[in-house]
């Protein structure tokens, strides 16, 4: 029997009992849709958290916070790291201590003053919103929000009346900034001032709520500043953090592993992601398991429908066998019928699940927002439910597989029908 004729045969049978087939497909649809929607919550939350993590953290950054043997990370060590594969840049940063004021003309402000290697920073993807990277030691780069808190005295007074000042709003490029340092020891606390010229302003951070108030000074000042603020502490012992920048997220894991092997204490986003991925893998598996139970329940419907179909058609099956239909063909026809129910149910379920998922992502934040009477939920970009193609594949395999298994026994039963008994049945 040709495949097309087999399909015709099935279609003709399905048409004969539309309502029953419809109800069975409906049950299969509900089971499969429940499975997909339930698991989609696991996928959605995983996606939200991963995106959040990748958005707010520098994903290609590997932080080195020391060595196992407590010795400092030397310039030589850093050079070796630079030569590692897939490493774009190695930056050593230290916070400047003893800053007592930062001024520009008649304005005063505050900032995170850091000593760093600006060449390496650039390789590590320090992007500018305006200006250029410094070429001379006394040239500096400032954070995007730094100018906002450079205030005049009048502005500062006004701000205490709860009027937020926007600070310095015109371009900072070429402006001179004076940084006053005071030694940290008690006896000698005569402050001293250094002047720097702003050549570049960093790009705004990726998120609205993050602020960048950095003042990045070339690391050649490190010794000079150290001798001034803490002359009794050797330069090597000042707290320097080293950051390794990979050429992409995919190489972070490898770099992290090899640095660990070399005895460094490191932290990178992959560490955190691995823990999170593990958690969500377990969660998703659990949700899929619960969803599969729904599919199994719906499969009882398929089993019943197919058993009834076989019983109803006992005489017809007997006639088919009598005139020469192979028992294997009969088994295949019935199996195909239950698979058809499974396939249609799954197809509808997939479409339905996407609709439900879309609706949930739109509606639930709206409802929560209304209850909490808070704005801003929508731009947090929370995905509650997400249906990646993998989930569609898993759910389809489960529900079509279950449909097949539940159609198996009725189909076997059909092949076992005794021709003589079947022909004896009354019309």
């Amino acid at each position: 029997m040709s495949f097309k004729d087999q399909l015709d045969f099935i279609r003709q049978h399905l048409k004969k009992n539309k309502l029953r087939v419809f109800m069975t497909v409906l049950a299969a649809t509900m089971g499969c849709a429940f499975l997909i929607v339930l698991a989609s919550v696991g996928f959605g939350l995983h996606k939200t958290l991963t995106d959040e993590m990748l958005d707010t953290q520098l994903i290609n950054e590997v932080q080195i916070y020391g060595k196992e043997d407590q010795s400092p990370v030397t310039a030589d060590d850093q050079q070796k790291m630079r030569e590692m594969e897939n490493v774009n840049a190695v930056v050593s940063r230290s916070y400047l201590e003893g800053v007592t004021s930062i001024t520009m003309d008649d304005r005063t402000g505050y900032g995170d003053v850091q000593l760093t290697n600006l060449e390496e920073e650039e390789k590590a993807n320090l992007a500018l919103s305006e200006g250029t990277m410094p070429t001379k030691p006394n040239e500096i780069v400032i954070g995007y929000h730094f100018a906002q808190n450079l205030l005049t005295e009048a502005e500062m007074n006004a701000q205490s009346d709860e009027e937020v000042s926007t600070g310095f709003t015109t371009s900072m490029i070429g402006k001179e900034i004076s940084i006053e340092l005071t030694p940290l020891n008690e006896e000698n606390n005569e402050p001293k001032t250094w002047d720097f010229v702003v050549t570049g302003v960093a790009k705004a951070p990726s998120k609205d709520w993050m602020t960048d108030q950095r003042v990045l000074i070339d690391e050649s000042y490190r010794t000079e500043f150290q001798l001034f603020t803490q002359p009794d502490v050797p330069v090597e012992e000042s707290y320097i953090s080293v950051y390794v920048y990979a050429d992409g997220l995919q190489s972070v894991k490898g770099i992290t592993e090899s640095l660990k092997a070399e005895g460094y204490h490191v932290y990178s986003v992959t560490e955190e992601m691995e823990t999170m991925d593990l958690f969500f893998t377990v969660l998703k598996a659990g949700l899929l398991f619960v969803g599969t139970i729904a599919v199994l329940i719906s499969s009882i419907g398929i089993f019943n429908t197919m058993t009834m179909a076989v019983t109803e058609r006992t005489r017809e099956i007997g006639v088919m066998k009598a005139i020469g239909a192979n028992p294997k063909l009969i088994q295949r026809l019935f199996l195909m019928e239950s698979i058809w129910i499974g396939v249609i149910g799954t197809a509808i379920a997939v479409a339905l699940s996407y609709a439900i998922s879309y609706l949930a992502n739109w509606l639930i934040p709206l409802i929560v927002m209304n209850i909490m009477e808070e704005d801003g939920m929508e731009d947090m970009g929370i995905t509650i439910s997400s249906i990646p193609w993998q989930l569609v594949v898993i759910a389809s395999v489960i529900s079509i597989g279950v449909a097949m298994v539940s159609g198996w026994r009725p189909a076997r039963k059909a092949t076992k029908i005794d021709v003589i008994q079947a022909l004896r049945q009354e019309l």
Binding site: M1, S2, D5, F9, Q12, H13, K16, R315, E316, V319, M320, K321, A322, I323, G324, A325, N326, P327, K328, L329, V419, I420, L423, L427
Partner: protein
């Protein structure tokens, strides 16, 4: 063409443990030649249908050998036997056994579908046959829209459609009035003459049996006169 040799069959009936053994066929031997119409007559319960079921392969006899077209059919597996039936046997049943969901045309077409004959070829064959059995006017009727005689014509056409060398008929006119019975018998005779098809007809009705070239009589599962031929 058909050699039935020493076929014996016994049914066990009743509850397990206290089964009664009922011998239904006792050393039945029949030879049927190509192009013959052979009838097997006997009273109700004499074992006629059982003999046909064994011959068709619907069940296996307890002992004895059945050779059809030099093939020892009792040795075939279920699948092989189905295949063998599809190629070599046509069937006509007392209560027609048509598919209620298929039209007359589609019912006749069914064996060809099972054989995997392409649609266009099926069409030609079935249409020719519908003409031959005189069903052109009702080809698209469903079985419940046909008279008994028309239904039996459909079932005869279905038996013929794949050109089998042998047609087995169990009480082919048992559900028909005598006028319709005559029509069907004439049709069978003409098909036998024109196509040379071998017919094995089971009946308890002597009038039907009389169209046969040879007649066997079963009594309590054994051939009367040891199978001596009754030439009609």
């Amino acid at each position: 063409m058909i050699h039935i040799q020493d076929v014996t069959h016994t049914f066990s009936i009743g509850k397990k443990g206290k089964e009664k053994r009922v011998p239904v066929l006792k050393n039945v031997s029949i030879d049927i030649n190509k192009g013959e119409i052979v009838s097997i007559v006997g009273k109700s319960g004499s074992g006629k249908s059982t003999l046909l079921h064994v011959l068709a392969g619907f069940m296996k006899p307890e002992s004895g050998s059945i050779k059809v077209l030099n093939q020892e059919t009792a040795k075939l597996s279920e699948s092989e036997h189905a295949e063998f039936r599809l190629n070599n046997f046509g069937f006509i049943f007392q209560n027609f056994q048509l598919m209620p969901g298929l039209t007359a045309f589609e019912n006749i077409e069914l064996p060809l579908k099972l054989k995997g004959v392409p649609k266009s070829e099926r069409r030609v064959n079935v249409e020719a046959l519908i003409q031959k059995v005189g069903l052109s006017a009702v080809a698209d009727h469903y079985p419940n829209e046909l008279s008994g005689g028309q239904q039996q014509r459909v079932s005869i056409a279905r038996a013929l459609v794949s050109n089998p060398p042998i047609i087995l008929a169990d009480e082919p006119t048992g559900s028909l009035d005598s006028e319709t019975e005559n029509e069907i018998l004439i049709l069978i005779q003409s098909l036998n003459k024109s196509l040379g098809i071998t017919f094995v007809i089971i009946t308890h009705d002597d009038e039907v049996a009389n169209i046969a070239h040879r007649k066997y009589r079963l009594h309590d599962g054994a051939l009367v006169n040891g199978g001596a031929l009754h030439v009609v």
